[in-house]
Symmetry: C3
Subunit: 260 residues, 3 copies
């Protein structure tokens, strides 16, 4: 089995426990996507419990969408525990730029060295300090505009950075790759970007950041193509996506993704 | 294209950013409904970020269902920012009456002049000060019982008031209309009423309150009829409803809705 | 109609209002499951409103998953109001064991005498004081290992205890029964366990704890079998489960469940 398919197979075999500190609006879909993929989600975010519970997790996702007051307090402490223990983690700095709490919080978190940083072009630019952010959760910059900022971030924090868009860009500061898969309906339902962050964390529990990032991106986008084929609109697509995350054959992944 | 269909077409063309301060239990469905309709949701509610983020929104939805402690603090400040900037907004005073925090909060909010007020008969009566509210989120009064209270509220606050039920009533205090569309399954899944509030906000970003209210009501109820036809029960209906919100042809809306 | 089917028919006839203090990640599915079943959900959890709103509820569900700061404060006060008024209630001590807030909270709550206690084997062992809990929300102990702890808990608190797993165990301390129905996909989507707690509360509003527990377990697991037959994966299964909760014929329930 080729490299990316092997990551998918490992997630299903090891069933990593993924602690998710993530947006309230999409937390249910993130959890369902992780379960469909074969991983196990855990979602508690308060400072009273999250720093304890993260000690049994195999990976951590930190997503700043709909950042709650509890989350803003619990997230940095929990991420620090994960970083100290060497638990791999993913940072998804949703909608930073204009937002007065999450923007400095994301800059503080990135210093703890996430294995993977994932964002749209506007978020990556804002995190690198060279952009003002997008329009709410949506990017206003093209992926190519964030290429240099992504490489800089990756090198500075020894992370893999994934810039998502119609074409996805992945870089570790030295090498980079692009991915042209997926379906426009991914942007017509909530939570697909957040679920991608969750999948990245699941993959990061069983693989190095570079293959983990590419495996998660490929898994979600190929599943999305299969889901779109048997859907009538964004509603049925969202549900079919869960089916396809579960159904995807690891053996076919590398061949179908056609990575460049 | 006739008036209501034109509103739908405008939402799809302008893709308004709709800031939603809404019930935790249904926020995901509200966001999915907005995306399916062609608008863009943003859901942050804390006082630390919502008053800033609302400044880039094209419309605001304030829904008091499952009112959180953070929400009770963040909502009035955010609504005030929207009102001051002239950002159009919708008030959905869910389950007011018995509830000790949201009832006075709704009465405070309505003074800020929402473009649209939407509630079931018991909520509208309670907001007008002439009823004790319903049973939890359900109305215990018929729509007709709220007719005078709705007209009074509309005139007092220069809003359009929509009283939802099996038959929906819309009034601006001077004229009124009723709508007899929809499907009983709309009451057998969560979030359809909240999603209607979201659609009203999206329509209000591109049209005056009167056509915006009627367009949103027609859009949701006609989509519900189409969704019910290809569903087996409330689960598949809820998902099909998203498909149909996306699929509805603006050209057909005015003709099919048969407004009286 | 036999005993369990009669409980289902009563839920549909009385449409009990079920107040749910439940995990953020699955609250939407719990609400949808209750609506599909014919009951009516209400989800407010803050201490400012929940103790007032619970006074109009027919039953209460307390689920400790993703316990928020607001929830940790509001839950004990609300449960006490319910207990004082004789409102029947269900305790679902999700993920207790390692978690520093919910573990003592669950032990405090159980003393208020829930009609039904529902948990996986690790949670029941931890609640009885004889286990360290599971791995996040998942059990690490087999159902049989919790048999004595369940009987002890049931007798001590005059509750019916349901230990859920591939085989479910129900005991009131004197008699016990097991149930071998359901489908593996129940564990591949979020919220089915939480929805079961909600159904138990709905059944408890219209029946004694023993038949209520068995009716809810049978209802969900038989519906799951029917849903799995027409699904392609965990996504479509979750949605079909709602359809089947609504479609299940009370007349068939006792016959099909084959209780031992």
């Amino acid at each position: 089995m080729a490299e990316l398919g092997a990551v998918v197979a490992e997630v299903r075999r090891q069933r990593p426990l993924v602690h998710c500190l993530t947006a309230a609006v999409t937390m249910n879909f993130v959890a369902d996507a992780l379960l469909a993929a074969g991983a196990r989600p855990m979602m508690t975010e308060t400072i009273d419990e999250a720093p304890t519970l993260v000690t049994v997790a195999d990976a951590l996702l930190v997503n700043l969408g709909t950042l709650s007051v509890d989350g803003a307090v619990g997230i940095p402490v929990t991420a620090e525990v994960a970083a100290d223990r060497g638990t791999p983690w993913v940072l998804d700095p949703v909608a930073i730029g204009l937002a007065p709490v999450r923007t400095p919080l994301a800059r503080e978190l990135v210093r703890l060295g996430p294995g993977i940083i994932k964002g749209n072009a506007s978020e990556v630019l804002a995190l690198a300090g060279s952009g003002a952010g997008g329009s709410g959760p949506d990017a206003t910059d093209p992926v190519t505009a964030a290429e240099r900022a992504a490489a800089l971030l990756a090198e500075r924090h020894r992370s893999v950075v994934a810039v998502t868009g119609a074409r996805d860009l992945v870089t570790d500061g030295h090498r980079s790759g692009t991915l042209d898969r997926g379906h426009p309906w991914l942007a017509r339902v909530t939570g697909t970007g957040c679920a991608l962050g969750g999948l990245m964390a699941a993959c990061l529990a069983v693989a190095e950041p570079w293959p983990a990032t590419l495996a998660a991106l490929s898994w979600l986008t190929i599943a999305a193509e299969d889901a779109a084929e048997r859907s009538r609109g964004p509603g049925t697509f969202k549900i079919a996506l869960l089916d396809e995350l579960a159904a995807l054959e690891p053996e076919e992944l590398d061949e179908r993704v056609g990575l460049r």
